[in-house]
């Protein structure tokens, strides 16, 4: 069994909901020992929301341990129950951090201060700690205590204004989008860079990842349109400044696509060659010669008509067949896939084995997102199921922090380990 690249590293994961725990999940998949610090006095909201695992009789399982939302983001972690609202809990947090390489949180500065987990405080106990704080707005500034979560970031960062159709209000993108890749991915990138620096100098450091700043960085083109050109651009649906046609086109319904029978393909033609190839592949080579569509400028000028034409070509065809024909001609195209497709019907995802299945003691057999990048020599994997709430309290207190069994019993009785 190949060694994982982060073996030997220990992470104190004081985060919750999406962006923080997913960063911890990535570190866990690549070999770090990740200790989720939780409390029944303030359980992670994701432990209590759908989708829940089901019983054989079709009812939902219940309790803190059966949410697929939580379980997918916390694979292989250990769960330590710790009440940070009491001084003894805070002291135990320091003792844990002393034994860790990485500290991770996405609570607001107000909560961090209440729990005495500021960087000055924890680095005083462990100068080698790499401490990653990922609050919504940053640790400083007039908006530092503003409330939010992923779905609030979507409007605040400009994603909502810039996405969707121009005739609609800015409704967002249907999910807490920035929580899943942008923010945890930037967080782990910064942590790994800090690890390299520590390897060379022995020094830890403070990483501040204001989620708003992290997301806007990825929308830099729109921001530069204002900063450099003085323009204030807006959403244009699925169209592109650089490709035409560029959009989603409805194909024949698919009754086997459960609850989601409308089927769509996306097509992106970035130059005249790709457009001519697309028209040919869809059985209408004459359209590419039509002066209304022959050049990029002409296609942009007649884009409504172009899109209606393509829609008429594909509306009675099976989406997968349309995509196969276009791809055979070298045209970027894909089915607008749903989760059923990704888990069960997409032969490519299955061949690559992206999703990994583990047995969870309460939820049962669960699908998990596997590592989102493949390392040929030191691959990651889903290391095991998410922990039950407090499952490893005893283990972490004794093995990691170094408490005796009697001390743990006292702390349990005093309400510190809840």
């Amino acid at each position: 069994m190949a060694r994982k690249p982060l073996e030997g590293l220990r992470v104190a994961d004081f985060s919750w909901y999406g962006a923080g725990p997913i960063a911890g999940n990535t570190l866990s998949q690549f070999g770090a020992e990740v200790i989720r610090v939780e409390s029944e006095t303030r359980p992670d909201g994701l432990r209590r929301v759908h989708p829940f695992a089901m019983n054989p009789d079709g009812t939902f399982k219940s309790g803190y341990n059966v949410s697929g939302y939580f379980n997918n983001f916390n694979t292989g972690k250990l769960s330590l129950q710790l009440n940070l609202n009491v001084p003894k809990g805070q002291e135990l947090a320091y003792r844990l951090i002393e034994k860790c390489d990485i500290f991770l949180t996405n609570f607001t500065p107000r909560v961090i201060e209440k729990w005495n987990l500021r960087y000055e405080q924890i680095s005083a106990r462990n100068p080698r700690i790499i401490a990653a704080y990922a609050p919504m707005q940053g640790l400083t500034g007039p908006h530092r205590d503003f409330l939010g979560f992923g779905a609030v970031l979507t409007p605040v960062t400009g994603i909502s204004h810039m996405s969707g159709f121009p005739h609609r209000p800015p409704i967002g993108v249907g999910t807490n989008y920035p929580d899943y890749v942008i923010n945890p991915g930037h967080t782990v990138t910064a942590i790994l860079a800090a690890l390299r620096y520590r390897n060379r100098t022995g020094k830890g450091q403070l990483i501040e990842l204001p989620q708003v700043e992290s997301v806007i960085n990825t929308l830099g083109t729109a921001v530069l349109e204002y900063l450099v050109n003085g323009d204030n651009p807006s959403r244009m649906g699925n169209r592109s400044l650089n490709a035409s046609p560029h959009g989603a086109f409805r194909c024949a319904d698919d009754p086997e696509s459960v609850g989601s029978v409308d089927r769509w393909v996306v097509i992106a033609c970035r130059d005249d060659r790709e457009w001519a190839a697309a028209a040919q592949a869809l059985g209408h080579p004459e359209a590419a010669r039509d002066p209304k569509f022959a050049t990029f400028d002409a296609r942009k000028a007649n884009e409504d008509e172009l899109e209606a034409l393509i829609s008429s070509w594909v509306r009675d065809r099976k989406a997968e067949d349309v995509v196969a024909a276009l791809q055979a001609a070298g045209v970027p195209a894909g089915v607008v896939q749903n989760a059923q497709d990704l888990l069960e019907r997409d032969p490519h995802m299955r061949a690559r084995g992206y999703y990994q299945y583990v047995e969870h003691p309460e939820a049962g057999r669960e699908a998990h997102d596997g590592p989102a990048f493949r390392l040929s020599a030191t691959p990651g994997s889903v290391p095991g199921p998410a922990p039950l709430l407090g499952e490893h309290t005893m283990d972490v207190c004794e093995r990691v922090i170094g408490l005796t069994t009697d001390e743990v019993a006292d702390l349990l009785a005093e309400g510190v380990l809840v």
């Binding site: 779905a151 249907g174 989008y177 609850g259």
Partner: protein, 410 residues
């Protein structure tokens, strides 16, 4: 000069749209990133929007700038023997090779992973493509919207009556690059510890899968597909103080029923201060305003009949609230609402972002040299590292460093 996290690391990049942002993250953290470009530059050099008055100038694409800060640029023609030979010599000076070409493209030019690892076993070779290096779709043509569609996020975005929505900002490319940055740095740490290099394989489709939120697990557990629900989001029916509200000059998004921040009565207090509470202090609205929260909503979802008395009154409450927001500027609604601990987000336009109070107070924007001369203000980095900050340097002009870098190879 502050310390740089990736000091002494050389990256040779054969990347255009999909992996360039990964190279940018490494470059801003201090790696020397040498971008090898074809004569004339790749697609991103020619991508709109351009700096005004510079349409088509390969040094003036704003998207290129965003994805290529702090790099060097070398032009080499990989379709010639000389270009390939120089590229190979350059690649063998690298700690990391980063690329996003169609599968097999570089191998056909003597620059594949297997070609280089035999001479340089410590090389980290990162390939970022639409569908990864193996599997039945590995050879598929890809562009950003294809990744968003095949990765499962478009099906969740938009109104049911519309086509599924793409998310702005090359999000499949960006996500693939962010995943690649993590994998590349893990592989670099491993190579520095052991001398062993490896291949890092990133598929844009897989890179986005996590962003399906709960759709994947909903299918896995419940054999239901999550679908796009537009403005309604996860709610069964439209509810007051949730969703988009129009202001005098833009929009805000309201999440006041969500389990964070204060509940509806705090909003009505604010409305009352402006004399705009309408009938909400009167019955039956007053009672409903006091009970409309997440707990009530949960009850509504499990037993819609129990809400039958309340539902007919909701439109008046919604309208009164929307009428209130219509009197405010978006910024006022956001900032004062948040000061009152009401969960409200401004729907920022690029101009709003440029003027954002918090970003300005934190000095987030940086001023860098423009590739066209002079300076420009630029969005800041995604993170702040106290000892080894990410520093944003000017994007290179096409071929700007060709002579310097090639001189090093001689």
């Amino acid at each position: 000069m502050p310390d740089r996290a990736l000091d002494g690391v050389r990256v040779v990049e054969f990347a255009d749209e999909t992996a360039a942002y990964c190279g940018r993250l490494l470059a801003d953290l201090g790696a020397e990133v040498i971008k090898v470009e074809p004569p004339g530059g790749g697609r991103l050099r020619h991508a709109r929007p351009f700096v005004k008055g510079h349409d088509g100038d390969p040094n003036a694409s704003l998207a290129f700038w965003v994805h290529n800060t702090s790099k060097k640029s070398v032009v080499l023609d990989l379709e010639t023997d000389e270009g390939r030979a120089l590229a190979r010599r350059l690649a063998l000076t690298a700690d990391i090779l980063l690329e996003d070409n169609p599968v097999g493209f570089l191998a056909a030019r003597g620059l594949g992973y297997k070609d280089l690892r035999s001479e340089k076993p410590s090389l980290v070779y990162t390939s970022v493509t639409g569908f990864g290096q193996d599997g039945p779709h590995a050879g598929w043509a890809y562009s950003d919207i294809v990744g968003q569609a095949m990765g499962g996020i478009m099906t969740l975005a938009g109104e049911p009556a519309d086509p599924p929505n793409m998310i702005y900002g090359r999000q499949a490319d960006i996500s693939a690059s962010i995943q690649a940055a993590q994998g590349t740095l893990m592989a670099l740490l491993h190579a520095e510890a052991t001398g062993e290099g490896q291949l890092v394989d990133v598929s844009a489709q897989e890179a986005l899968s996590m962003a399906q939120e709960t759709a994947m697990q909903t299918w896995d557990f419940q054999k239901r597909n999550r679908v796009r629900t537009g403005e309604l989001g996860m709610l069964p029916i439209p509810l007051p103080a949730t969703g988009v509200a129009k202001c005098t000059d833009g929009y805000v998004s309201l999440y006041i029923l969500a389990p964070a921040g204060k509940d509806l009565p705090a909003l009505v207090d604010w409305m009352r201060e402006k004399g705009l509470q309408g009938p909400l202090d009167d019955e039956p609205y007053r009672t409903i305003v006091n009970q409309l929260n997440m707990a009530w909503l949960t009850q509504l979802m499990s037993d819609p009949a129990a809400a039958a008395d309340v539902l007919p009154h909701l439109p008046v409450i919604t309208k009164t609230i929307l009428d209130f927001f219509a009197t405010l500027s978006a910024r006022e609604a956001y900032e004062e609402g948040q000061q009152r601990q009401l969960l409200i987000g401004i729907v920022s336009t690029p101009k709003d972002i440029a003027e954002n109070t918090q970003l300005r107070a934190r000095d987030w924007f940086v001023r860098i040299e423009s590739p066209l001369g002079g300076t420009v203000e630029f969005p800041g980095p995604p993170y702040r590292l106290s000892e080894t900050p990410a520093l944003i340097g000017r994007p290179p002009r096409l071929g700007e460093h060709t002579a310097d870098i090639l001189a090093q190879l001689r």
